[in-house]
């Protein structure tokens, strides 16, 4: 397997991981200080429920670790990080989308007014927006995995 491709992908994963970690740090900071969201970006991007950090932090950590393992020439762990980080990021995005959809259905059932803003915030928050990038990364890392699985165990 050419390590060049893996290096590029891991670097992208590292950058994406940093965004996840950034969202976590901001969510914790804003929760502790109870500060109002100073910009539109923060308002939409940072999840309001602090419990989301338990989901987002490991995704960021795992994605960033991919580059670390490439630099240590550990191809298996690097690809594992891409698959796991990308996979969980994708699942988090799907579940967040389902939550938004559930909120719409719930509002309809309860006869409440549909809040477009609430929907937008739900779809743009970190686990959803970054999840699309994680999804692309996950798809690409599957290609790398397919090449890796033809490798004999002893050769690693």
């Amino acid at each position: 397997m050419k390590s060049g491709k893996l290096f590029i992908l891991s670097t992208l994963a590292f950058i994406l991981g940093i965004f996840y970690v950034l969202a976590v740090i901001l969510a914790i900071y804003l929760w502790i200080t109870q500060s109002p969201f100073s910009s539109q970006f923060l308002y939409y991007f940072v999840p309001k429920d602090v419990s989301s950090v338990i989901i987002l932090a490991p995704i960021g950590l795992v994605l960033s670790s991919s580059l670390y393992y490439v630099l240590r020439r550990d191809v298996v762990k690097s690809i594992a990080c891409l698959l796991i980080g990308g996979g969980i990021g994708t699942i988090a995005m799907i579940i967040q989308t389902l939550v938004v959809f559930a909120n719409i259905v719930d509002a309809t059932i309860m006869g409440e007014k549909l809040s477009i803003e609430k929907i937008t915030v739900g779809l743009l928050r970190a686990d959803s927006s970054l999840g699309w990038a994680a999804f692309l990364l996950f798809l690409t890392s599957i290609l790398l995995y397919r090449k890796l699985r033809n490798t004999l165990k002893n050769n690693l």
Partner: protein, 681 residues
């Protein structure tokens, strides 16, 4: 055996060999579930028809051997010895043959009419090897049927083999040769048993009994001791054991080791490498998922996602059921003029509310078990248990304890249900009793209202401390229970790491339905009756019938039995400074913690919205914090108690009820005491 109409077939195997899938394939999913007598181990029985025989298939617990140390293993072996099934099907994993063969050998030694179901042959081939099933059959002296359970491959052949085994019983007692000295001893003891005890030789295979006696098996020793000739046989066994011990050291260990060697020898002779070993998806993913630094955060992330899926995605269904049953149907009955007023209230506030409080749990439970079944079938739950095992073992709890404890943060009902996945009965009982300490979603509104109203800027920290405390409590109480009430050997961690597999829709749907159904019918009844009891306590008082108005009128409710009990409770709670209203609210909290805030609103005469402003007058910061701790620790809700009753029986449900209340009281009292010592009131 020819012409026999009813046949018993026992299904056994080590955990994670696909036993449930094969059971479902054989019975076509038609099974009833109960418990084995006297224990809390699940018993699954199904029926099928093979060659005009009505076959009852009994799913024995997943086990590794047939020792007397584990309840599951005792159940399996007692069933085989006492019920004498016509056929025993041992499911053997082609990818972990040696461990599975140890069990198969133990079954053969017992005299079981055995069939080997060699499952997962496809995964073995993917991993580069195959099992020569003909050679395996020759070596074991039994039929060996290769299967790929999820695809149904080999199931018809398995049925055919069962049919054949019913007609031609085959046993192979001498599958292991223990060497000249031990074999002579076995021969001597078995001859003695045959000669002296008709009772023992009729019930057991004399050779197996002899091996077990030499092995020092406590259960078998006790059984032999109870017979009239027990002392003679045991005296001879002791003599032989001593003599063998001088040559071999620990005779029990020698016998087990020889059995393992035989399993290993057979494995080496039947395993064939068919292609070079290539790296698999399991190797790749496990390189990170089972690692501590990344594995633990990933596990938390995945469990949190499961949590969100169960609790947030199911919201519309919960609200729809709530609207339909608790509002629409409730109001329809309550305002109906067909019934007398008392009956309308009984039906609406008792029966309908009872049904409603069961049904609103359903979507969350079903969604949770759907997600859980997927994670289980993929093979991930085994990894989660593996990575936290070392930490949990310090509290004498298995790694799998993480699952109910984390689930409990959402709802304690599925948390108690999740203990079923724990193999050891002592672990399972201890966990079912501590899982309710996990601070569930329903407790949060109480923390928010009380903390927000009284603790001001410290509310956030106080609420966060509830979650930390809940885990500390669960671990410490778990350790105490495992060291006292559920004392027993800590079996440590034995788990098969199954390869990662694509989950099968039918299997997931079946598991989800089975578990949801169990909640609906078992816990539902208790919840339903509990809600009606609370209704009766609220509309009746010492002066007689007060009417349904009491449910919405503080003055009337004060005169009801609930109010009277609340008054007595307030005497008990006086060291904490809680008045009769907050004490009565705790009584309603038995039904569901969600109701505590609502009842407080009624009793303080302000409704839920105005509660925050009023409550500060009735609580000091320390009494508020003590109240929060009490809410965290005392009985989570009726549904959880119903689930504990379902899993462990009435005795333990009552025990949970009692010890949680006592513990909650003591903790609240301690907090008050500490508050006074440090000068916080």
């Amino acid at each position: 055996m020819v012409g026999k109409r009813y046949v018993k077939v026992a299904l056994t195997g080590v955990p994670n060999v696909g036993k449930s899938v094969i059971f479902n394939k054989l019975t076509k999913g038609k099974a009833w579930i109960g418990n084995w007598p006297g224990v809390t181990v699940e018993k699954k029985v199904g029926k099928t028809e093979i060659n005009n025989h009505e076959v009852e298939i009994i799913d024995l617990p997943g086990i590794y051997g047939l020792t007397a140390y584990s309840v599951d293993e005792l159940i399996a072996r007692n069933f085989i010895v006492e019920e004498k099934p016509d056929v025993v099907v041992c499911i053997v994993s082609a990818i972990n043959l040696e461990r599975s063969l140890y069990l198969a050998i133990s079954l053969l030694e017992m005299g079981a009419n055995l069939i080997i179901d060699l499952n997962m042959i496809d995964i073995a081939e993917n991993e580069g090897f195959s099992v020569n099933h003909r050679k395996l059959s020759e070596m074991l002296g039994t039929s060996v049927v290769p299967t790929i359970a999820p695809e149904g491959y080999g199931i018809e052949e398995l049925k055919e083999a069962i049919k054949e085994a019913i007609l031609n019983r085959k046993i192979n007692l001498r599958i292991v040769n223990y060497g000249r000295d031990v074999e002579l001893a076995i021969e001597k003891i078995s001859s003695l048993i045959k000669k002296l005890s008709f009772e023992l030789s009729e019930k057991y295979q004399a050779r197996w009994l002899a091996i077990k006696l030499l092995e020092g098996d406590e259960d078998v020793t006790v059984k032999v001791k109870r017979t009239q000739v027990g002392s003679i046989i045991l005296g001879e066994v002791e003599k032989l054991r001593r003599r063998l011990g001088e040559k071999l050291g620990d005779v029990g260990a020698y016998i087990i080791e020889t059995r393992y060697k035989r399993a290993s020898e057979i494995t080496h002779r039947v395993l064939e490498r068919i292609k070079p070993v290539k790296i698999t998806i399991t190797d790749i993913l496990d390189s990170v998922l089972t690692q501590k630094i990344l594995g633990i955060p990933i596990a938390l992330s995945v469990l949190m996602l499961l949590f969100r899926f169960a609790f947030e995605v199911s919201t519309p269904l919960v609200d729809a059921i709530d609207l339909l049953v608790n509002v629409w149907l409730h109001d329809l009955i309550a305002e109906s003029t067909i019934f007398p007023r008392w009956l309308a209230s009984l039906l609406a506030d008792g029966v309908i509310s009872g049904i409603g409080s069961v049904l609103i749990f359903l979507p969350v439970i079903a969604f949770f078990f759907l997600g859980f079944a997927i994670l289980e079938d993929v093979g991930y739950m085994a990894r989660v248990a593996f990575i936290v095992d070392k930490f949990f073992s310090k509290f004498r709890l298995p790694g799998k304890a993480i699952i109910p404890l984390v689930i409990g943060f959402g709802c304690n009902v599925p948390a108690v249900m999740a203990v079923r996945g724990i193999e050891d009965e002592n672990d399972r009982k201890a966990l079912a009793l501590v899982a309710p300490f996990s601070s569930c979603n329903a407790r949060l509104p109480v923390y928010l209202v009380i903390g927000g109203a009284v603790l001001g800027a410290y509310a956030g920290i106080a609420i966060a401390s509830m979650y930390v405390l809940s885990i500390i409590l669960a671990l410490i109480v778990g350790l105490i229970l495992r060291s006292t009430l559920f004392k027993g050997p800590f079996t440590g961690f034995i788990i098969e790491m199954p390869p990662y597999l694509t989950p099968r829709l039918d299997n997931i749907a079946f598991k989800t339905w089975e578990r949801t159904k169990r909640f609906l019918f078992k816990a539902g009844t208790v919840i339903f009756l509990g809600v009606i009891l609370i209704w009766l306590l609220s509309v009746f008082g010492p002066s007689g019938y007060l009417g349904p108005e009491a449910l919405e009128n503080a003055a009337l409710l004060k005169r009801s039995w609930s109010g009277v009990i609340g008054h007595y409770l307030s005497i008990i709670f006086s060291p904490m400074g809680w008045d009769w209203r907050s004490s009565t609210a705790l009584l309603f909290g038995f039904v569901a913690k969600e109701t505590v805030v609502g009842v407080m609103g009624v009793l303080y005469g302000v409704g839920e919205e105005g509660l925050t402003n009023v409550i500060a007058q009735y609580f000091t910061p320390i009494s508020a914090y003590a109240y929060m701790i009490f809410v965290l620790t005392y009985v989570p809700c009726l549904a959880t108690i119903a689930m504990i009753r379902n899993e462990l029986g009435l005795k333990y449900a009552l025990f949970a009820l009692f010890y949680e209340i006592v513990l909650a009281y003591l903790l609240a009292l301690t907090v008050m005491g500490l508050g006074h010592i440090v000068g916080v009131v």
